[in-house]
């Protein structure tokens, strides 16, 4: 299988943990300040062993558990064939701020030894890998706003190149520190997706929720408007099999930056705009919403960051071939 065959990889499980809800319907609700106590690790993970795990790690573990349960578990995939890719921008920001205050107003010796390792942002996905024996790989992507989509893209490319046969991809974020200038745009929660070869899903009788194909690129923020719109259009390009964005239902997760303006210009007017947050979670929430929407035609989620990162994820509904049992050797894909 090559990266070009990514449409043959299917989504078989979705897990959502958000103050807006615990399934894809959260995508349709507005982002507001997280209500107090919206997530209790004792309820979602268990009463013991998670108290000192930072919240963004708790969110991602809970979302992963939900996705795995929905996808029928992972006993069929050997540990060394299991890969993971996690996107995050702000999982560690508030924790860093608190640690920094401890250091600057007191001493590093006052830091909690339980949370000190989590200065490293890749640990927010590591507990999930430990609990589920993911030994293929466990990537952490942090590109502004597109990190969640890049987790899907990079994970699928890595599966396509044979680094794993089964993938858990998603994003997790925690609210920014109270003094951060952008705190009102904070995101909190996680989304996890289980992806595997469609033939494996069919062989197990697992429901296929859809297929994902991600494109990404870079648009320099200072590009003059007409050229920026043209370049944005070229980054978005056409979809698998010649799909055109004008024929798809498109959700644009954008801010008020010139880069987002260029992307919106390239998309035209017939898109649903969703305000971007200070992180990489919202695009994944929108994908979760589309996967459960029952849409018959292709849909897409587009996002952009003021720093120039642009990404698009096609969400393609399952077709009748997804229900067919595997009848040919694995090399068909």
């Amino acid at each position: 299988m090559t990266a070009l065959d990514a449409t043959r990889v299917a989504v078989t499980g979705v897990g959502v943990v958000s103050p807006r809800g615990f399934d894809g319907s959260a995508a349709g609700r507005e982002r507001t300040a997280s209500p107090e106590g919206w997530f209790d690790h004792r309820t979602h993970l268990g009463r013991r062993g998670y108290k000192y795990l930072p919240t963004a790690a708790q969110y991602f573990l809970a979302a992963s558990n939900r996705a795995l349960e929905a996808g029928g578990g992972l006993d069929h995939a050997p540990p060394e064939s299991r890969g993971a890719a996690v996107g995050t921008n702000s999982a560690a920001e508030a924790l860093h701020a608190a640690m920094d205050t401890t250091i600057t107003t007191g001493s590093a010796t006052d830091l909690s030894p339980a949370t000190a390792p989590f200065f490293s942002i890749n640990l927010f996905g590591s507990r999930m890998a430990m609990e589920h024996g993911l030994q293929g790989f466990n990537l952490t992507l942090t590109s502004p706003r597109v990190a969640g989509l890049e987790a899907i893209q990079t994970g699928l490319r890595s599966v396509g190149l044979g680094r794993a046969d089964w993938l858990l991809a998603g994003a997790t974020e925690e609210a920014l520190a109270p003094l951060d200038p952008a705190v009102r745009d904070s995101e909190a929660g996680a989304v996890a997706l289980v992806l595997e070869p469609a033939r494996d899903a069919a062989a197990r009788g697992s429901d296929v929720l859809g297929h994902l194909v991600v494109r990404s690129g870079y648009l320099p923020p200072g590009t003059p408007a007409p050229e920026a719109r043209e370049r944005a259009g070229r980054i978005l390009g056409e979809g698998p099999g010649g799909l055109a964005l004008r024929d798809a239902t498109v959700v644009a997760v954008v801010d008020d930056s010139p880069v987002s303006a260029a992307v919106l210009g390239a998309l035209g007017t017939d898109v649903r705009r969703v305000p971007a947050g200070a992180g990489s979670l919202e695009p994944l929430l929108q994908i979760a919403g589309l996967l459960g929407s029952g849409a018959e035609g292709p849909t897409a989620v587009v996002t952009a960051a003021a720093q120039g990162n642009v990404a698009l994820c096609w969400v393609i509904p399952p077709d009748r071939t997804d229900a067919a049992p595997a009848a040919t050797p694995r090399d068909e894909a």
Partner: protein, 394 residues
């Protein structure tokens, strides 16, 4: 499958800025950590192998008008060097991508704001925009990715860059890593008791942890076809193979049997199509932490057999410290230089070699005996990547 070649390099570290300063420093094998200048660094051992003040690039604004942190400035410096070294001037932006590994991104900028005051706006300043800054500099319209797998981040970045070429998504990728001083990172390592109060001394019996370093490296990766078309002047090495694994064992501790780090090394060799005998040198992860160096030594002995006692290791971290998310790229750059020059530079002398670490660390320069050099990069969370650099012709 088209070869992936390394055709340009750029580097900054405690040895200074530029390839010549780096190679000369490797051959002098003398360095020392120094106390960080931050008056707010309230911790027991506030030292690191810092980039000399004179070599720190001046503050700049970029992207959406927000200031860039020191890690981004390092990354821009080494990217300029690597692009000039490669002679890349007319590359197709749509076939050019960027992949940068960094553990902390521009966290130092946010730390400065916490003590000096935040800027007067309410816009989001993403911590991990180092790759974005490089993308703007290079004019690369292809995928632009920030990887943050801690101390293995830029090892993965180099591998992901090669994957972009091998999957046909790019012809040229600027790959590398960047890491600058972070008060939070150094404070947490102090709290974990993982900082050596003396120097970074991997495989030494008296090692007592690691010592952080600042630095960045950029590598221009090109498909062989692209390099041929433009008659690339220099080919340092081919990136012949990469292997990944995840311990899935513990948050911070390495899996003690080294099963997964061995699997990553074997996978990298298999992808390169060579056996261990072809390895003329290994640039190990070797951080100076007690267990990690022992486990890696045993894994190398398992891979190389009795040859492990003679096959030279080049212990980069004993010279420039542990550069965190930049470490894999700096090691890959070192490996490319070793392949290109056919020489393994002298290691920083150990005062008390650890008998538990049965490895060879020559203190004199030695000729590279073998066509390839392996690089290991490991991280918290058990994230492992091994790379194989091999001799190549343009």
């Amino acid at each position: 499958m088209d070869d992936v070649l390394i055709t340009g390099l750029g580097v900054i570290s405690c040895l200074g800025s530029g390839l010549n300063a780096f190679w000369d420093g490797m051959n002098r094998a003398v360095s020392a950590p120094r106390k960080v200048a931050d008056p707010h660094a309230h911790m027991d051992i506030p030292h690191m192998y810092a980039v000399p003040d004179a070599d720190v690039p001046a503050p700049v604004e970029a992207l959406d008008g927000q200031p860039l942190g020191v890690a981004s400035r390092f990354a821009l410096d080494v990217t300029r060097q690597a692009m000039a070294d490669a002679g890349l001037v007319d590359h197709d932006p749509w076939r050019t991508a960027v992949v940068i590994g960094t553990g902390m991104g521009d966290a130092g900028l946010h730390e400065q704001w916490r003590t000096d005051g935040h800027p007067e706006h309410d816009r989001w300043n993403a911590t991990f925009s180092v790759a974005s800054a490089v993308g703007e500099l290079v004019g690369a319209a292809g995928p632009n990715t920030s990887v943050s797998n801690a101390c293995a981040a830029s090892g993965f970045a180099v591998s992901l860059a090669a994957d972009l070429i091998r999957s046909g998504e790019a012809d040229v990728v600027i790959a590398g890593g960047a890491e600058a001083y972070s008060r939070v990172a150094l404070g947490c390592f102090n709290r974990l008791g993982a900082v050596d109060p003396d120097t970074c001394r991997p495989f030494d019996a008296k090692r007592a942890g690691t010592v952080f370093g600042e630095g960045a490296a950029a590598l221009v990766l090109e498909s062989a076809a692209h390099a041929r078309r433009r008659s690339a002047a220099t080919v340092y090495a081919r990136l012949a193979g990469a292997g990944w694994s995840c311990d899935a064992h513990h948050t911070t501790a390495i899996e003690p049997e080294g099963v997964q780090i061995t699997r990553a090394m074997r996978h990298a060799l298999a992808e390169a199509g060579i056996g261990p005998a072809e390895l003329g040198c290994v640039v190990p992860h070797g951080t100076g932490t007690l267990i990690n160096d022992t486990v890696e030594s045993r894994a190398l002995a398992g891979l190389l057999g009795t040859a492990a006692l003679e096959r030279p290791l080049y212990s980069l971290k004993s010279l420039i410290g542990h550069t965190g998310g930049a470490a894999g790229a700096l090691a890959a750059l070192s490996a490319a230089l070793i392949v290109r020059n056919g020489t393994v530079p002298p290691n920083v002398p150990r005062t008390d070699p650890d008998p538990e670490c049965r490895v060879s660390l020559p203190e004199e320069a030695t000729a590279l005996a073998g066509s390839a050099v392996m690089v290991n990069a490991y991280a918290f969370g058990g994230n492992n990547v091994s790379l194989v650099m091999q001799e190549a012709a343009a």
